[in-house]
């Protein structure tokens, strides 16, 4: 069975996020005064062949820890692709 997941990777709070800071300022400059925070991340689609969904999730977790995210500066979430 092939399971497909969307991995979302985001910068840890408090660490420098120049894209987020710059985009927030641009939104504020455009009049969106209510915007208090913008942060950037990336999404990665991963399809895995595994006997069960749990086994597939476990594999993607290992992938995140090892390669897809950098634990020094990023956190990740794994969700089934819709």
């Amino acid at each position: 069975m092939t399971y497909t997941f969307t991995v979302s990777i985001t910068r840890k709070p408090g660490l420098s996020d120049p894209e987020g800071t710059t985009t927030k300022k641009a939104l504020n400059d455009l009049g969106f005064d209510a915007v208090s925070h913008v942060s950037f991340g990336r999404t990665i689609s991963v399809a895995v062949d595994a006997p069960t969904r749990d086994e597939a999730v476990s594999q993607v977790e290992v992938m995140c820890e090892k390669l897809l995210a950098n634990p020094v500066m990023e956190t990740y979430t794994i969700k089934p692709a819709s």
Binding site: R11, K12, L15, S16, D17, P18, E19, T22, L67, L68, N70, V72, M73
Partner: protein
């Protein structure tokens, strides 16, 4: 005594570092990233460039190149290891140096000489320099903005070896070109045998380049390789 210079697909500063190290009197050997043997090397340099296209994150793919198991093993044994620019990014991804490098504060690629203040001489990179010495060395990076989730520990243990400053050695927000936390330009590991910096000392190695300030770092690294017996 030979210093190994690791070349990945996308590395583009290997000839510059080889030239500068040779100028300083040491032999070099370029090693392909798929090789697995660095026996005989007295030190290892990971040069600048865009290893594996910098895909995913800078250094993220390169840290899993076959040669990296050997680099990690030698780092554990105390061999001097130096990462310049992309090489620094690879060493952080590999966990051989603390922290990480993200996009510059102003989202611009910075290619210009910057001033650096030597913070510590207790590293294979800065051992020939003097604390407080100001060096003018070119920076050439987009992801040169140093971050760390344990910055207090890094500062407390004296891992910071170089900070961005002005020509008088003053460090403040106005002398920080890329937004690096605490103006950090170069760091070492707790064992002091692995070091990395974003600026390119090899591009300040001859008068014709506008500065020879990088040579005190390269000569210090070479001197470090002469002291180890692994």
């Amino acid at each position: 005594m030979t210093i190994a210079v690791v070349v990945y697909p996308g590395t583009n500063c290997e000839l510059d570092i080889v030239h500068a190290v040779n100028l300083a009197g040491a032999d070099t050997e370029m090693v392909w990233h798929r090789d697995t043997d660095l026996s005989g090397a007295s030190g290892v340099v990971l040069p600048g460039g865009f290893a594996h296209g910098d895909y995913l994150r800078t250094g993220a793919i390169a840290r899993f190149s076959p040669i990296m198991d050997e680099v990690s093993r030698l780092a554990d044994e105390g061999l001097p290891i130096l990462g310049v620019c992309n090489g620094f990014q690879i060493l952080t991804e590999a966990g051989l140096l603390p922290g990480a490098l993200v996009a510059n504060r102003d989202l611009k690629f910075i290619c210009e000489p910057v001033h650096l203040r030597v913070e510590s001489t207790d590293s294979v990179l800065t051992r020939a320099a003097v604390v407080g010495q100001v060096l003018s060395i070119p920076l050439n990076s987009y992801e040169g903005n140093y971050v760390a989730d344990d910055i207090d520990r890094i500062e407390a243990t004296g891992d910071v070896v170089l900070r961005y400053c002005d020509s008088d050695g003053r460090v403040d927000g106005s002398t920080n070109p890329n937004g690096s936390t605490n103006s950090i330009a170069g760091i070492t590991n707790d064992a002091r045998n692995v070091a990395g910096l974003m600026p390119h000392p090899e591009r300040a190695s001859e008068g014709i380049l506008g500065s020879t300030d990088g040579m005190v770092l390269i000569e210090g690294f070479i001197a470090s390789t002469e002291l180890v017996t692994v």
